[in-house]
């Protein structure tokens, strides 16, 4: 893991339960990702989000949309 944080994207969800469910979906689909706290610059809420590399954006979006998960994607 030599990537700097600027290179990542994060998917933000409406609730922790949605993050847990999205994590399960991405794990089952073997899509590389990581659960991290929502960065302070994005939100001061005590939340978690899912971080991934830009090259996985399409597969993350498609995999989650298939399961009707709604989320926003932001640059980290």
């Amino acid at each position: 893991m030599t990537e700097t944080s600027e290179k990542y994207l994060v998917a933000i969800f409406q609730s922790v339960s949605h993050v847990i469910s999205a994590e399960r979906i991405l794990k089952n689909a073997r899509v590389p990702h990581k659960v991290i706290p929502v960065p302070r610059k994005i939100s001061s809420d005590c939340g978690v989000c899912i971080r991934f590399l830009p090259e996985h954006r399409e597969i993350v979006e498609n995999t989650l949309r298939e399961k009707d998960e709604s989320f926003d994607i932001r640059a980290l």
Partner: protein, 205 residues
């Protein structure tokens, strides 16, 4: 002639116990052990006590750990190095900051939520301003330090920053994970209790 301690075939913590006893009465000791964990445990114990340590790989899977008492001057130097290498006043004044990870989840109520929280905590610990000097993993906490753990990359980063990571050997053994521990050193209750008792402060998420 060095005093010979035969700790072959003995499991943790016997080799360390026998070594400790021998060091009380002799200044030149050879400990014979037959596994890498015993080598590490004996080495660490003796080095912490200020002894010079040298390991030779004998034939037939036997290791000879040669321990020689250092003279007072060398011991004094070691002491001052220890103080000067403490990189901030807090550590020097009051002992290291120790993070204890007692479970693979954080908090009580929901393990599903607790798993997410613990991952989040470990990730955040990488860049904490007042981060740990030592992290200790015991009970189901050891599951975080093995191959396939979601936080293994984070823990390797933390270790790369110079943080000492101790993984409870008894616990890894209990969960049949000893061969899969992938970060830190497999440790024993002597090191763990010693580290906890010397801690400046303890953080338990």
């Amino acid at each position: 002639m060095p005093e010979i301690v035969n700790a072959k075939g003995l499991a943790c913590p016997q080799p360390v116990l026998l070594t400790k006893k021998a060091l009380e009465d002799h200044s030149d000791v050879d400990v014979l052990v037959d596994n890498a964990i015993a080598v590490e445990n004996v080495k660490r114990f003796a080095a912490n006590a200020g002894w010079a340590v040298e390991v030779t790989d004998e034939s037939g899977g036997i290791f000879r750990i040669h321990l020689k008492k250092q003279d007072e001057t060398a011991a004094d130097n070691r002491e001052s190095e220890c103080i000067s290498c403490a990189d901030n006043a807090r550590s020097a004044a009051s002992g290291p900051s120790v993070f204890v990870i007692v479970s693979d989840t954080m908090g009580k109520g929901s393990d599903e939520l607790g798993t997410i929280l613990m991952k989040s905590f470990i990730h955040t610990a990488i860049d904490l301003e007042d981060g740990p000097d030592v992290m200790i993993f015991y009970n189901s906490g050891v599951k975080l330090a093995v191959e396939g753990s979601d936080v293994l990359d984070d823990l390797k980063k933390i270790e790369g920053k110079g943080v000492k990571i101790l993984v409870c050997g008894t616990c890894a053994n209990y969960f049949s994970l000893t061969d899969r521990v992938a970060v830190g050193i497999i440790s024993n209750m002597y090191d763990i209790a010693d580290t906890l008792s010397r801690a400046g402060h303890i953080v338990q998420p």
